[in-house]
Amino acid sequence: MLEISNISKLYKHNDQWSEVIKDVTLPIADREFIAIVGPSGCGKTTLLKILAGLLEPSSGKILLDGKEITAPGKDLGLVFQGFTLFPWLNVWENIAFGLNIRNLKQEEVVKTVNHYLTVTGLKDFAEYFPKDLSGGMQQRVAIARTLANNPKILLMDEPFGALDSQTRSQMQEFLTRLWEAEHKTVVFVTHDVNEAVFLADKVYVFSPQPTEIKKVFNVPFPRPRTHALKRTKEFFDFSNQVAHEFEQ
């Protein structure tokens, strides 16, 4: 259980304090897939960094299974919005980074890395340095790197934002399949309403700054979900409802 309780965050900019996040409370059950949609600049990245233990909230608490999170660690894996691959490591070594840090057995590392290379379609690029990959490929490596590390909670900050629509669909389907198989707790940030509805059990719509939760939608569609769902009328209507709230 991941509990976000009464989180606020103020940033200081030119000696002026501004409130980016205002009193957000959000319980996330184990194995729940939640999506957060909100306008650009509303504080989604800020909230995820607080969840990951990278930023300190101005007030409020994050509890993971009853314990307060005060520092980052492997339990809370974060796929960053920007490119954060280690440029001096090749694709293979990037994915193995977290595993090697924990001194896992080499056979296990090899097995895990190869598995995620395959599922993300990067098998042929294992030896490439990040600078020689396209933006979308880099993002896939970043996702593989976090997944391979097997975090308890998967935090994703607009992970598919840099991908073309085809790869994006593939990655979405890949993620639902993965979730249906492994049932991880996922907090998925996006500004694409369709993506949020397709992937999540619950969609939280955030308001512009200072961010508050505007509305929560429980997504009614059963799993397993495939892309055929996106073409149904029910999906269309539901997404519109969410989008309406989002755009208001």
């Binding site: 960094k49 980052p72 954060t84 001096w88 340095f129 990040p130």
Partner: protein, 260 residues
């Protein structure tokens, strides 16, 4: 950032030789025409024959070896000290507050100011030369390395932390590899300075070395030998610089700069 596209290797060599040719022509024009007396500025041929003479009859190789080995040891000692202090400066605010004023102070003292002291402490042997080199290189190198570390990418550190890295792994597996190319560049810059310091050190109380060669030549009014020495130093500097450039490319293939 270069504003033009890559130029071919041949073109590069062409432009390089053109620059050199212009330089040589001006030099020849000034000297062979007698515009400047040979005593002040010897012509290129005279400088070349001076170098040849020094090689055969003199002790040029010995001098080169003496200066190079002083640089090597002075540099090595500086690196051993500057690397850990520079990294610590770059990652710890407390350490920075503690040590920064001292280094900033030492940095503004010209290394030549240490020569009298170094001679009193260590005599005029190798230890004195290496000390002067160390005093000249280490403070600068420390601050250069600290700067590289301070400017290393924060997002990569954050990524490592969320992958479960502790502080030690962040330093060893993220900050260090990320900073190596910058540190290599700092070494390259300081190598240039090292040549300055070694000549200064050898001008005062040395029995071998290129600085010693120059001050001896001055004593005997051998301008051609002085210029010979300058040319040799220039070439040695060029060689070390080239060494750093080539090793950069092969060591840091992952950087954008490596295929520039």
């Amino acid at each position: 950032m270069k504003l033009e596209r890559k130029i071919s290797r041949n073109k590069y060599i062409l432009f390089g030789s053109a620059g050199l040719l212009v330089f040589l022509s001006v030099w020849s024009l000034l000297t062979y025409t007698g515009l400047v007396p040979a005593f002040f500025l010897p012509p290129p041929s005279k400088v070349l024959s001076a170098i040849a003479d020094l090689l055969i009859k003199g002790n040029l190789l010995g001098d080169i070896f003496a200066s190079s080995s002083r640089i090597f040891f002075g540099f090595l000692l500086s690196l051993v000290v500057a690397l850990p202090i520079g990294i610590a400066l770059g990652i710890s605010r407390k350490f920075e507050a503690f040590i920064e004023p001292i280094i900033a102070f030492i940095r503004y003292i010209p290394p030549s100011a240490f020569i009298p002291l170094a001679i009193i402490w260590f005599g005029i042997g190798e230890l004195e030369k290496v000390t002067i080199l160390f005093m000249g290189i280490a403070p600068y190198l420390t601050l250069l390395i600290a700067d590289v570390v301070i400017n290393s990418r924060r997002d990569l550190v954050e990524a490592a932390l969320t992958l479960g890295a502790d502080h030690q792994s962040v330093i060893l597996k993220v900050i260090l590899p990320n900073c190596f190319p910058g540190i290599w560049d700092s070494l390259r810059i300081m190598m240039g300075a090292a040549w300055t310091f070694v000549i200064i050190a050898e001008i005062v109380g040395a029995s071998a070395g290129l600085g010693h060669l120059m001050i001896e030549s001055q004593r005997f009014l051998r301008t051609d030998n002085i210029f010979g020495g300058i040319v040799v130093i220039g070439f040695l500097g060029l060689t070390t610089d080239y060494f750093f450039k080539v090793t950069y490319k092969s060591l840091f293939k992952w950087t954008e700069k490596s295929n520039a």
